[in-house]
């Protein structure tokens, strides 16, 4: 890797009372790379995602982000307005439940256009055009642009959330179980969509999932978490084909046996 890292966490520690949610976690992410964080429920995956994205402050440790100008920022020392600006332009967050992110009382087009308007877009025609373009990219029929999200199916909602997030062309997207709660055929289609969009736009992604299959399909690198620690990390194929840590072996074998 000759390029400098886009995002790096060093020595991250966070305790919830007596429970160590994160223990000495180091993470690196390079531009355009997709990193999967896998592990069972309660292993600290989502906590790590929240700490990396600046939403939750760690007890100890530092998260650094390199902006397009090459400047390094300590994410947790950033002033709130700067972090918010980052979150609505350079970064994106895709939730497991799209209802957390979407505005259910606002039309699909309005949902996609919100980040543009928050960034200062003031030309209705342009915003409308961008919304139509992005609905097409996530395979939602243009005729649905003025429909409310509550008339959409689960898979459509998730695709709408992705359009809403990617409309500002972020460099880094955090995804928390983006395919959770969807049936298998819809999952496959969504994974395909995420993979092609991310590759085409060269977006770096931190993906949290408990599904080894999703990680294998999407991620370049994988980090396996257990009780707040990263127990194994490496290239996805390497880790999954030749797991070294007993816990990773257990994870992989439990998937292959089903």
């Amino acid at each position: 890797m000759t390029e400098p890292t886009l995002l790096s966490g060093r020595g991250l520690n966070l305790n919830f009372g007596a429970i160590p949610a994160l223990a000495d976690v180091d993470v690196d992410l390079w531009p355009g790379e997709m990193l999967a964080i896998v592990g069972e429920s309660g292993s600290g995956k989502t906590t790590l995602l929240n700490v990396l994205s600046g939403r939750v402050a760690p007890d100890r440790g530092i998260v650094r982000y390199r902006d397009p100008a090459g400047q390094l920022h300590d994410v947790h020392a950033m002033p709130a307005p700067a972090l918010r600006t980052l979150h609505r332009s350079d970064w994106g967050f895709v939730h497991q439940d799209p209802r957390q992110n979407l505005r259910m009382s606002v039309s699909a087009g309005g949902n996609v256009g919100e980040r543009l308007m928050a960034r200062g877009a003031r030309h209705y025609g342009d915003i409308r055009g961008a919304a139509l373009d992005w609905l097409a990219q996530v395979e939602i029929d243009a005729g649905r642009i003025d429909d409310l999200p509550r008339t959409f199916s689960g898979g459509m909602l998730q695709r709408l959330q992705i359009a809403r997030t990617l409309v500002t062309h972020p460099r880094l997207v955090f995804m928390d179980e983006p395919t959770g709660g969807l049936d298998v055929s819809v999952q496959a289609r969504l994974l395909d969509l995420i993979r092609s969009l991310v590759a085409r736009l060269r977006i770096a992604v931190v993906l949290v999932t408990h599904d080894i299959g999703v990680a294998r399909l999407l991620a370049h690198r994988i980090a396996v978490m257990q009780r707040g620690r990263i127990v194994e990390t490496g290239l996805t194929d390497q880790v999954l084909d030749d797991p070294r840590h007993p816990y990773t072996q257990l994870l992989v074998s439990s998937v292959l046996n089903t």
Binding site: R84, R88, S107, E114, H123, Y124, I127, R128
Partner: protein, 288 residues
């Protein structure tokens, strides 16, 4: 005025409100919390405006009170009598003679001057409240000047109706910093707020908020570049005075579809009629 402190409120309360007013003037468009008192009229009748008026009123002030532009409606009459009784100040219906004007739902047609104060009664000070239910979140949005959500509402209007359909309480940007509710005045009156020579004070009694626009401050109505802000008014001249440029009320005159469009600003209309202007329905009235 026997039995009452000057202008009803006690001096400590007035000082507290004046401190809030000073802060509000210093940060144009920013909502300042204040300890709103129980007033001898119900919420929604102007408890916020009346407290602000009580705090800025001096013995030599001349007070005008309007409700929907009219000086002779219940709300206007009772608030005017309230201050005549408790403060003993002179009252007037003529916009030019007043030093303090308390208003509900209108700005007078006559251009206000630097030596005048206009006090608005505000039911809901938070312009984002229909869009974001959490007050914690709206405060954060104001703090960070994060107003994309308001434009989402405008976007929805254009997508659904082909135009921005807000006809009153049209959101404005004050001094290019704070998003502000202008209180339920018609969008027709929004341009009057921009660079107004008079001091504009806003009081919301139930919501316990005060905000202000200092004289000569930029007030911009939100819009899109390709759907610019425009005012809406009935396409008729006033039936009584013939004015073509004032905001009109529609009055139903019979049960056979008869209607009359008249100036909502009664003082403006009366002044024009006194100067000899007559509308199409004005003649009939004079002939009867």
């Amino acid at each position: 005025m026997k039995g009452y402190n000057f202008a009803y409120l006690d001096e400590q309360t007035k000082r507290m409100i004046r401190r809030a007013l000073l802060k509000a003037v210093a940060i144009p468009g920013h909502q300042v919390p204040f300890g709103s008192r129980e007033m001898p009229l119900p919420y929604g009748w102007g408890t916020g405006g009346i407290q602000v008026t009580a705090s800025v009123l001096g013995p030599r002030d001349v007070l005008k009170v309007i409700d929907q532009g009219a000086d002779d409606t219940t709300n206007a009459v009772s608030i005017r009598r309230f201050f005549a009784l408790t403060a003993g100040v002179a009252t007037t219906t003529a916009t030019a003679e007043a030093t303090v004007i308390q208003t509900r739902h209108r700005i007078p047609e006559k251009q206000l001057r630097e030596d005048q104060i206009i006090v608005y009664q505000v039911p809901q000070p938070e312009p984002l409240f229909r869009l974001e239910s959490s007050r914690v979140e709206t405060k954060r949005m104001h703090g960070l000047a994060d107003y994309g959500l308001m434009h989402v509402k405008l976007y929805e209007d254009v997508a659904r109706f082909g135009q921005i359909s807000i006809s009153y309480d049209y959101p404005v940007m004050v001094n290019e910093r704070y998003l502000m509710s202008p209180s339920p005045i018609p969008a027709f009156d929004n341009p009057k707020m921009d660079m107004m020579p008079a001091l504009q004070l806003f009081g919301a009694g139930r919501e316990k908020r005060i905000y202000a626009i200092p004289p000569w401050t930029r007030v911009r109505s939100l819009d899109f570049d390709d759907h610019p802000f425009r005012t809406i008014n009935a396409p008729y001249p006033c039936g009584l005075c013939g004015a073509a440029d004032s905001y009109l009320d529609e009055v139903v005159t019979d049960d056979r579809g008869g209607r009359l469009f008249v100036c909502s600003d009664t003082d403006h209309c009366a002044e024009r009629r006194a100067a000899g202007h007559v509308g199409t329905d004005g003649f009939q009235e004079a002939a009867e």
